[in-house]
């Protein structure tokens, strides 16, 4: 962050970026590809089942089916269809390249190498994406930014933060990184978790049919944000959490203008107190001792 981007009297307390393992959600897609690439290479070239894969299309079929199956399972578990489409893309790309280049006779070498190569590209993309994230904790606000092609940036002042949400998974607990979501008063940092249930029934023979449908839905507000709008996978988590909590608790450092206002208000209060005392002295009746002193 450049100096001219900082506000007057603003000081950067900590500059952070996500931990290399904090994007494991995406990295695991590539890890699976590496494992499957090696496994399929062993299966079709060295294992006891290699005779089963004499035909090149049987190799492509088994390789593609496993990819799609894992994609569907992962998509259902995480409720993210992008995983399925990613693996579908890998499959389509592989088959397309194979047919385009006419490498059908080399499928036993091509498939394992292609799978591992795609996974390496996947790792690199995730790494570039991770490195695009930068977080700045200043004495006045939290600034988050990220994105490879489209740069996204957000800053939230401490006085506008209503709550701070923290999340630390198993890997985070082991490597001491975690995610901090500042929830603003306007609701930034909050998302919805939706669960839906639906069912249908059809009764009757060939001619008459009765059809009914019922369903239901539920919505829960939960701390959720994009990785470039939160402090995603920051390390060391304990220290960052302490710093953010402390700054949030203090509501940010008082600016010089605010300091002047406070001093001015204090002076005003002092003057008013003096005036009150003077008025009191004038209005209160004099005691006997005071009268005698005056006579003397």
């Amino acid at each position: 962050m450049k100096k001219d981007e900082l506000l007057k009297n603003e000081k950067v307390e900590k500059q952070l970026s996500p931990h290399p393992l904090s994007f494991m959600r995406y990295q695991s897609l590539s890890i699976f590809l590496v494992i499957w690439g090696v496994l399929v290479g062993w299966l079709i070239n060295f294992s006891g089942y290699k005779d089963f894969f004499n035909n090149e299309w049987s190799v492509i079929l088994v390789w593609g089916l496993v990819l799609l199956l894992v994609g569907i399972i992962a998509s259902l578990v995480t409720i993210r269809w992008s995983i399925f489409f990613f693996y579908l893309g890998v499959l389509a790309g592989g088959v397309g390249l194979l047919l385009w280049q006419g490498w059908q006779n080399n499928v036993w070498i091509f498939i394992p190498f292609y799978t591992v190569a795609v996974s390496i590209i996947g790792f690199l993309i995730v790494e570039f994406y991770r490195r695009s994230h930068k977080y700045f904790i200043t004495n006045l606000r939290i600034i988050t930014q990220g994105g490879i092609s489209t740069k996204r940036r957000m800053s939230v002042n401490y006085e506008n933060i209503s709550n701070i949400s923290e999340k630390q998974g198993v890997l985070g607990q082991i490597f001491d990184f975690g995610t901090i979501i500042p929830i603003s008063k306007s609701g930034l940092g909050l998302g919805d978790d939706q669960s839906l249930a639906a069912g249908g029934i059809a009764v009757g023979g060939d001619k008459s049919k009765l059809f009914g449908f019922f369903g239901g839905g539920q919505e829960v507000k939960t701390p959720k944000s994009r990785t470039y709008y939160e402090l995603h996978g920051v390390y060391p988590f304990k220290n960052v959490r302490k710093l953010v909590s402390q700054l949030h608790h203090e509501g940010g450092t008082i600016t010089p203008y605010q300091q002047e206002q406070v001093t001015f208000q204090k002076e005003q209060v002092d003057i008013q107190k003096q005036m009150r005392d003077l008025l009191k002295m004038q209005t209160e009746p004099k005691t006997e001792e005071e009268d005698e002193e005056e006579k003397d």
Binding site: V38, L39, W42, F46, V170, Q173, I174, F175, D176
Partner: protein, 358 residues
């Protein structure tokens, strides 16, 4: 059938039990050594220590939950973190049920990881699961000596098969490689004692033994019932002329052997980490590169010169080359063996440095 009635009725059932106890004690000693290595590398490898803690805690909490499930107490709360695990029962049960759940908690973590490895071994090992009495002891099979010999013979057969498998492990076979990783990870998890951020003196081998001893001491009646059940099981096996009794304890013995081997492998890895920590800069990575490179080179070599000892020779070369590289690095890149400066000169140098600082 040979053997005196007292030997058969009173002493013979104790034989496999004592055998299992012996192996369990050896297991405890190796757990202590692993604890020592982990505590020495903790400052530089906190994540690894946290990971091993997590593994240990996972097994401990699973065993605790298993104890509550077996005793039908139910599980109302199940929480696992890197620092601690918590399991709460739905119904607080006293007496024998509480005792059984505690037994699961204290003894289970020693055997559950090994049991998982045993399940894998059933699919990977071709022999070693036989429980047979040596031919010369068939007549005195149900005596103390016969029982301990049968126990020993089954352990010998298993250890032979297991070592045969380990030394012929094909690291280019995904199943074998996965098993090795599991062996190392579970070896690091067979450790109910926690390595915390702060050293806790009371957590250790003696603490574990104290827990088990208090379990026995507090409810001696339950222990007696357990012994009686073991004796009854022995008599049933005796009347039906089956190896069931010694077979049951042999399985526990196998589990102990697996635990000990996995602890030794984990200890070797930890020892390597501890030694490479002393090597400065980039050189410390060299032993870790040597390991796969030497193995793959040997395997490639054996493609052109095939022999039946391909796997074993490749593994031995891998281990030896890693050891040699580590030794050479320690010798030439550090002063661990006092080759660069002897102790007297080292003392002088450090004294001079301290004086300079003053």
């Amino acid at each position: 059938m040979e053997g005196s009635p007292i030997d058969i009725i009173v002493f013979a059932p104790l034989a496999p039990l004592l055998g299992v106890l012996l192996f369990w004690f050896i297991q405890l000693v190796f757990i202590e050594s692993e604890k020592y290595f982990l505590s020495t590398i903790r400052p530089k490898h906190e994540p690894l220590c946290r990971f091993t803690n997590l593994l240990g805690i996972i097994f401990q909490t699973i065993c605790h939950a298993l104890g509550y499930t077996v005793t039908k107490s139910g599980v109302s709360e199940f929480y696992i973190s890197v620092n601690y695990g918590r399991v709460a029962p739905k119904k607080e049960k006293k007496g024998i049920f509480e005792w059984i759940s505690n037994a699961f908690l204290f003894i289970g973590p020693f055997f559950i990881p090994a049991f998982l490895l045993l399940v894998c071994l059933f699919f990977l090992m071709t022999s070693g699961f036989e429980i047979t009495t040596p031919a010369q002891l068939l007549e005195s099979k149900y005596t103390f000596a016969g029982q301990i010999s049968t126990f020993g013979a089954s352990l010998h057969a298993f250890a032979k098969g297991f070592f045969g498998f380990l030394f012929n492990i094909d690291l280019l076979h995904p199943g074998h490689f996965g098993f090795l990783l599991l062996l190392i990870f579970l070896g690091m998890g067979i450790r109910p004692s926690y390595i915390g951020e702060e050293k806790k003196e009371k957590v250790g081998m003696l603490y574990d033994l104290k827990n088990v001893w208090s379990l026995i001491k507090n409810k001696p009646l339950y222990v007696i019932i357990l012994f009686l059940m073991a004796y009854v099981f022995f008599y049933i096996s005796l009347f039906l002329n089956q190896n069931w009794y010694v077979g049951l304890f042999s399985i526990l013995g196998w589990l102990s052997i697996i635990s000990i081997i996995s602890l030794i492998v984990a200890d070797m890895i930890l020892l390597l980490i501890k030694n490479t920590d002393e090597i400065p800069g980039f050189w410390k990575i060299l032993p870790y590169i040597t390991m796969p490179v030497s193995y793959i080179l040997m395997r490639l070599l054996f493609i052109y010169f095939p022999t039946e000892y391909t796997n074993i020779v490749s593994i031995l070369v891998m281990i030896l080359s890693t050891m040699v590289v580590t030794y050479l690095l320690l010798r030439f890149k550090t002063n661990k063996f006092k080759t660069q400066l002897d102790i007297k000169s080292l003392k002088k140098k450090s004294k001079a440095e301290t004086d300079e600082e003053r």
